[in-house]
Symmetry: C2
Subunit: 116 residues, 2 copies
């Protein structure tokens, strides 16, 4: 397995409390990343997939943000409770979870209405 | 532009001096990531590409490591001096730089001889 089938980048950005763009990981403890690591291990995917800490992914208004490459699937508002179904449905099943998907109109758009 | 055409993850992992797996960014100052950010800006690619801090990408023996998604191009031993040609040749020109490419036999391989 030369490359990861799914490389999950979990934003761990921490800003000062009250910052207008918020923080994906206000406590800075990396719990969401750790939840992915554990879920990948439980699913037997640790050799082929990786959960990775990332700095700011610049979709802050939709945080906590996760991007899965090489598929380029961007999820927002992700909680630890979402992790098992992201692993089972998206990573294993190949299904996009529409309730978590960051809309195309918002992604990488400085004029996204959520930034107002 | 809904997604990044090139999302460049730059390992910023810092380990204790003397650790057998080394550190991609021993000083922890993020200079390599910053060099990518500046080069993308100079090339007018800041809206469509992003240079991102990443935690350990687990190819430590080939560090400093950079992975470019969604293309899945893994470069190792990357220095600030390499950044302009990565941007001009790989991001703009679509060319793989063989001297920086982490070999398939090493990538994500716990038995990679460089780990011995």
């Amino acid at each position: 397995m030369p490359a990861f089938s799914h490389h999950v980048f979990v934003c761990g950005n921490v800003r000062d409390p009250g910052h207008r763009r918020g923080s994906c990981d206000p406590s800075g403890d990396g719990d969401l990343r750790d939840a992915f690591k554990k879920a990948l291990k439980r699913a037997g995917l640790s050799r082929t997939s990786r959960a990775n800490h990332a700095g700011c992914l610049d979709q802050c208004e939709h945080g906590p943000v996760v991007v899965i490459y090489p598929q380029g699937i961007w999820y927002g508002g992700v909680t630890e409770q979402d992790v098992p179904r992201i692993v089972s449905e998206t990573l294993v099943g190949g299904k996009i979870l529409d309730d978590l998907l960051i809309p195309d109109d918002c992604l990488n758009n400085p004029d996204c209405p959520h930034r107002a």
